[in-house]
């Protein structure tokens, strides 16, 4: 509990960007395009009954296999547009835009 409190204070003091979330439902990433500031932690949550992955087309980030309810976090530092997909179900594509 204490650790959480300290962490939150530190983040607040540093004026860090709000965390961003992407959900995986029905074989799609939502939102399909998420725009964040560099340094923002993005969390993907698999809410399907089937495992998925989060893999950048250029392989700059790559999750392990996410079973139901599992999460993947990534904190981009370099601005740019990163197309990513589920390497198990490659029809699932989306974009992470870092400003």
């Amino acid at each position: 509990v204490c650790l959480f409190a300290v962490g939150a204070t530190t983040l607040g003091a540093a004026d860090a960007p709000q965390p961003a979330e992407v959900n995986i439902d029905n074989f799609s990433f939502s939102p399909a395009t998420i725009t964040v500031k560099a340094g923002t932690t993005v969390t993907w949550t698999n809410r399907d009954d089937i495992p998925h992955t989060v893999v950048a087309d250029d392989k700059s980030f790559k999750s392990r296999v996410l079973d139901t309810g599992e999460k993947f976090t990534f904190t981009p530092t370099k601005p740019g547009t990163y197309a990513y997909f589920c390497s198990i179900h490659p029809k699932m594509t989306a974009k992470l835009v870092v400003e």
């Binding site: 029905n26 074989f27 799609s28 399907d48 009954d49 089937i50 495992p51 087309d57 296999v65 079973d67 139901t68 197309a83 990513y84 997909f85 390497s87 198990i88 179900h89 490659p90 029809k91 594509t93």
Partner: protein, 319 residues
């Protein structure tokens, strides 16, 4: 109790109904139609008809099972081990003993060693202990499929493709679940396609060919990823053969299509059903009442009659 529907699905030999149509073999509750391919022409009979009985006395009989998804434990099937066992019981009760089995992938749900162990253990109780596998995408989730290859494809080429011959029939196991590209479908890849071209080169055009792979090698429903990007190139190498059958899994339901001399067939899962193409927001496990589950799972029993080039495909549910 098995439900049977007496449906003549297609009979090209006589009236050429819907030759290139998108044919569903028994769709959901159905089971017990028999599809017979003779000289590259597919005919079908209802089970129990005299023609069907005759065809069942072929010289080579094998069974296809698919999509056992060991490790899956959510609705509508919290016990996929029990339904796989039920499938094996069904196989062991067939009137003619199969010489071997094909497993067309998604053996496991998460590529875990204990999931593979569990399937291997259950398969040991089958009358036909000789099983030829191809991987599904769920079998190669970690380390580029190293665990799968170690267990099931030690003597195979590349990511696990191979061929073998039985009673004059040439079987080809293909891998289309590796190195998938963003936005794409299943992929065979150049290396495997070149191997396939070389593999069939020495065969005479009268050699019956049976290809098996996880993702359908025909375009079932690309919107859900139910197809293979470079399957047309693979099929081009098989064009000159009089009799080609393609057996797939992945979509967890029975579908059939005839294109020229190629018959495509997808098998049921032994674990859970998936929706019919386009009838749900996405593919994935379809939740059905417990009493309906086993009517939507099943096995595929195939008989090849030597000399007649006849392939009889019978799907049965686990009920």
């Amino acid at each position: 109790m098995a439900q049977e529907r007496d449906v003549i699905l297609f009979d090209h030999n006589h009236d050429g109904i819907d030759r290139r149509g998108f044919l569903k073999c028994m769709a959901w509750a159905g089971t017990g139609a028999l599809c017979i391919m003779s000289g590259g022409v597919l005919k079908s009979y209802s089970l129990g008809s005299p023609s069907a009985q005759k065809a069942a006395k072929g010289e080579l009989t094998f069974v296809q099972i698919s999509d056992s998804h060991m490790g899956f434990n959510k609705p509508a099937n919290p016990d996929v081990a029990a339904t796989l066992k039920a499938a094996i019981d069904k196989i062991n009760a067939l009137p003619h003993a199969p010489e071997f089995m094909l497993h067309t992938g998604d053996i496991s749900h998460l590529s875990k060693a204990e999931e593979f162990d569990n399937v291997d253990q259950i398969l040991k109780s089958a009358r036909a202990t000789d099983v030829h596998f191809v991987p599904g995408e769920h079998d190669v989730l970690e380390e580029n499929g190293a665990t799968y290859r170690e267990r099931y494809a030690k003597n195979a080429k590349g990511d696990g493709w191979y061929s073998f011959d039985k009673n004059g029939v040439h079987f080809i196991g293909l891998v289309n679940v590796m190195n998938l590209k963003p936005g794409g479908l299943g992929t065979l890849g150049n290396e495997q396609l070149e191997w396939l071209e070389d593999n069939v080169k020495p065969l005479s055009a009268s050699t019956p060919i049976i290809v098996f792979a996880h993702i359908p090698l025909w375009s079932v429903y690309p919107e859900w990823g139910w197809g293979t990007d470079d399957s047309a190139r693979a099929l081009s190498y098989l064009k000159r053969f009089g009799s080609v059958s393609v057996l797939n899994g992945h979509i967890h339901q029975i579908m059939q299509k005839v294109e020229g001399n190629v018959t495509f067939h997808t098998a049921c899962s032994t674990a859970f059903p998936q929706p019919k193409p386009g009838t749900a927001p996405s593919p994935g496990p379809m939740k059905v009442p417990a009493e309906q589950l086993r009517g939507l799972l099943g096995i595929t029993d195939v008989t090849f009659a030597q000399g007649k080039h006849a392939l009889a495909v019978t799907d049965s549910t686990l009920e």
